[in-house]
């Protein structure tokens, strides 16, 4: 309990805590029923309502862009974007689902695999997480945890692709946001990055590529990896058999955090510092995405390029 008190102290600070105590203590005695509100209390209540409305608008600001590049003749990347907000009494928290898949398998099957993987995973998450969320279904132990849901959604996509298009494959990187919590599910070598104000960008996902493992072990340098004949060999991908281990993580988001999903057509072509610069300087996430794709094309556009950029609660950290 001492830990919790310390945590509260750290979190709110002394004076903020006092203020919160006062308003909270007042609300302790407030009846759940809505009573007519007058005077100062009315002002406070309105401010509260206003804050919530403000909070609910533009929780996510999303940009995305995908391009075939300059060398290939078809685009095997696929994207899925959904963001949902509610304003109502006891509303469900904001929900966002952002996915990127990079197919492989030649001819038509690469894009078929990525599209199918995306549809299967998105459909699974919508029916198992999103609809119950909107319905207000009771949460309980009978449902898998959200990390298990994300894992199961990607496993489901894997089974569907393996069954319907054996011999093809796809990466799949999924960012699901529920309230202020981010869930990342990942297989392959597409990437998710978290950009937090005042902190260096963090790569959330690990490339499931052979050369990345060899780099981690000190058996290859980055430079050697970039030209290694097996640099495109993945050790995990959708569509490669009945069982698939999926990386799943959760993170607590902070106001102003940005989530970037991208295929190797971006990270393999544009260096990270340039990626961050373009994102920082672009006025909107959409413009950032367009510029990132342009930069990858300027660097040769050897591969399909796909980018999703999600910005959360822009400006909220300043308070209302």
């Amino acid at each position: 309990m001492a830990d919790i008190k310390a945590w509260l102290r750290n979190r709110f600070g002394k004076s903020a805590r006092r203020a919160q105590e006062e308003s909270a203590a007042a609300s302790l005695f407030k009846k759940p029923e809505t009573a007519p509100i007058e005077g100062a209390e009315a002002e406070r209540a309105l401010a509260e309502r206003g804050r919530r409305a403000w909070e609910a608008s533009g929780v996510f600001s999303v940009g995305w862009c995908t391009d075939v590049g300059r060398v290939r003749n078809h685009n095997e990347d696929a994207l899925f974007i959904l963001s949902s907000e509610q304003e109502a009494n006891n509303a469900a928290p904001p929900f966002g689902l952002f996915m990127l898949a990079d197919g492989m398998g030649g001819h038509q099957s690469g894009e078929v695999a990525s599209a199918l993987a995306l549809r299967a995973a998105a459909g699974w998450l919508l029916s198992h997480v999103y609809f119950p969320l909107v319905d207000g279904t009771d949460r309980g132990a009978d449902q898998p945890s959200l990390t298990d849901m994300v894992r199961e959604a990607i496993s489901h996509a894997n089974r569907v692709v393996t069954r319907d298009y054996p011999g093809s494959g796809s990466t799949l990187t999924c960012g699901m946001i529920l309230g202020d919590r981010l869930f990342v599910g990942h297989v392959g070598d597409s990437r998710a990055y978290l950009l937090r104000v005042g902190q260096p960008a963090r790569q959330l996902t690990k490339d499931h590529s052979l050369v990345n493992r060899l780099i981690e072990m000190g058996q290859l340098t980055e430079e050697e990896a970039a030209v290694h004949p097996q640099r495109n060999v993945l050790y995990r991908a959708i569509g490669q058999g009945a069982t698939l281990e999926v990386d799943v993580f959760t993170y607590a988001l902070e106001p102003g955090d940005r989530l970037l999903l991208c295929s190797d057509g971006l990270w393999g072509a544009v260096d990270e510092a340039e990626i961050w610069r373009l994102i920082q300087e672009a006025p909107t996430p959409q413009q950032a995405c367009v510029q990132l794709v342009a930069a990858a094309n300027a660097a040769g556009g050897n591969d399909n390029i796909s980018v999703v950029l999600v910005e959360t609660w822009r400006g909220q950290s300043q308070g209302v």
Partner: protein
Amino acid sequence: MSDRKSEPAPEQKGGSAVNLETRRMRGLSQRLRQPLFPRPEPSVAPKSSASPQTHLVEEPLSGTPAGVPAAKPDGSVSGAAASAETQQIAGKPQVSYEGLLSAGVQLQGRYKILGVIGIGGMGAVYKAQDLRFPGVLRLCAVKEMINTALDSQVRQMIVRNFEREASILATLGHPAIPQVYDYFTEGSRCYLVEEFVTGKDLEARLAEAEGFFSEGMVADWAVQLCEVLSYLHNHKPRPIIFRDLKPSNIMLDDHDRIRLVDFGIAKLFQSGEKGTMIGTEGYSPPEQYRGIAEPRGDIYALGATLHHLLSKQDPRLEPPFSFHERPIHKTNPTVSRELIGVIDKALEYDINKRWGSAEEFRRALAASLSIKIGSGSLGDKTATFDTGVVKPLWKFACEDEIRGSVTVADGMVFVPSYDHNVYALAEDNGKFLWKYPTEGGIACKPWVSEGMVIFGSIDKVIYSVDVRTGHLLWTAPTQGRIFSSPFGELGHIFIGSDDRQIYAIHQMSGRRAWTYAADGEIRSRPLVAESLILFACQMGMVYALSLNREQRWRFRARRGFLASPVMHNGLVFIGSLDNHFYALDVRSGWAAWKYRSGGSIVSTAVIWKNMVFFGSSDGFVYALDADDGRVVWRYQTDNQITAAANVAEGNLYIGGVDGNLYCFDALTGAVRWHYQTDGPITGAPQIADGIVYIGSADHYVYAIPM
């Protein structure tokens, strides 16, 4: 080197080594795996280059992989089903492709095909009868490799290499290596005729085994494998590198002797394909991916195989070369430290740090076997520390068990006892200061703030007494026995009761602000955080109320809650009697992750450095990653753990029903010390000024230096 995009797999540089590529052909006998998957480069888009470069045929293929005949396995046959018996004919042909030899066909007028054993990327493996011995049924295995090279010069080169390598194989004589009887070429197909081995391969044995293989058995196999590797590596004029050692290539014959099968040379027939992988994903040494093949690569692969056999973790399902991140003792704590050390050395990334030869490896294995007798193992925890050094600073006897947790504040230790009293003791010497008697046992953790000690009793009443004098300040009645610990916040005390209500009591006056009815008895401590009141009840429900009692969400577990919620980083952590430990998103009430322990969880969690610690009635103390619920470490004690833990200065303190107070290195789970009391410990340790305070069911409260 300018056009890397269409480059084949790197050339093998193993200068002096015989280029004996091994490649399994019994595709059907393989369990599902994660083939390394080459992704097509933009400049190369023919269909063949984009197909999975695997010789396995496990699922019906829509396209035709390069160099593979149009293999279409019968959909009714799964790889796993066929793996139980290798080199045994299944009841009916399981696969068919154009040109698959049917039963009755004779090759060279000598080998009569009896059936198909398996099918791989390069062709099939048949069970056949050698007609040269008409009086008896002499069985052999006939491996077929189909030469699909289009260029006639390449085709001839492949045939020449095949014949050269087959003739080398035919000269080998070792009891663990199946005899090669014959080889020949018919049209575009090359055949190798081998001794027919009955038995099961280790992959099949692994799949069947319920528990772990015994250490002695695995070490015995390992010694035999070292012997055969040693034979191969010392082959003259040039060493033979097996290059594909893995459980599925190791057979146990009917006499439980090791046979190294699949000296496949099918690899020759795959040369030139883009992205073809060398060796087996999961068992191959890292340097193989730089084109280096040498005897110590086989030592690594043997280490990898032994790791798999002992830990039962399939390396093909794990990141490549991740053995050191997955120590054997984590999944199988019974394996001796000595054997693990020997295997770890074989698995060094740096080739020069491995055992220098198979013979050296064999000697180390043999030595570890003899050391094992009569010495401790990693699982033998008592050998690792001396308990004699831990002595309590003082101890104090109550008149009955201490089931709740002590609280230290203002230089005093407040002890709830089942003898109906709360005691106040001097922190530095345990001197008795005062006690407050109630009408029932006390099983909570007193809350101390604003000069008050607040607690509930089984007599159904909440008490507030003066911290200095022990005089009563106020009481607040409930309708049920109180096991719940109070939590103070916002000038109020929150506490649950067996009357299924949670009470908000004004701390200064003792006046009841409100109550809220839950579905079951509330026996754990409520928590106020993020403007929510969180608590859990015996009916398995976790509640989140806003401060004005509106329900924000509920979460239903399969059984009740005795543990209390704690919060960290937007997650509410709580274990349930349904054996699960839950991390609930504080905003939505959804489980962000959950972890299933082997028993009911009563222990309240504690968080430190993004790790969450708790115990379970399965006897384990768990340390999980707070973000995703992965096990960082766990430690098995001799009895249930129902108490909450506490962390200070990198040490984790937790009491067990076995009577011990344990001190762990919180990062690693190594036991620093333990202290044995004479009764179960069910309360949480409290730490102040370098002293750990803990109560036990032996009636004593102990002050033990950290």
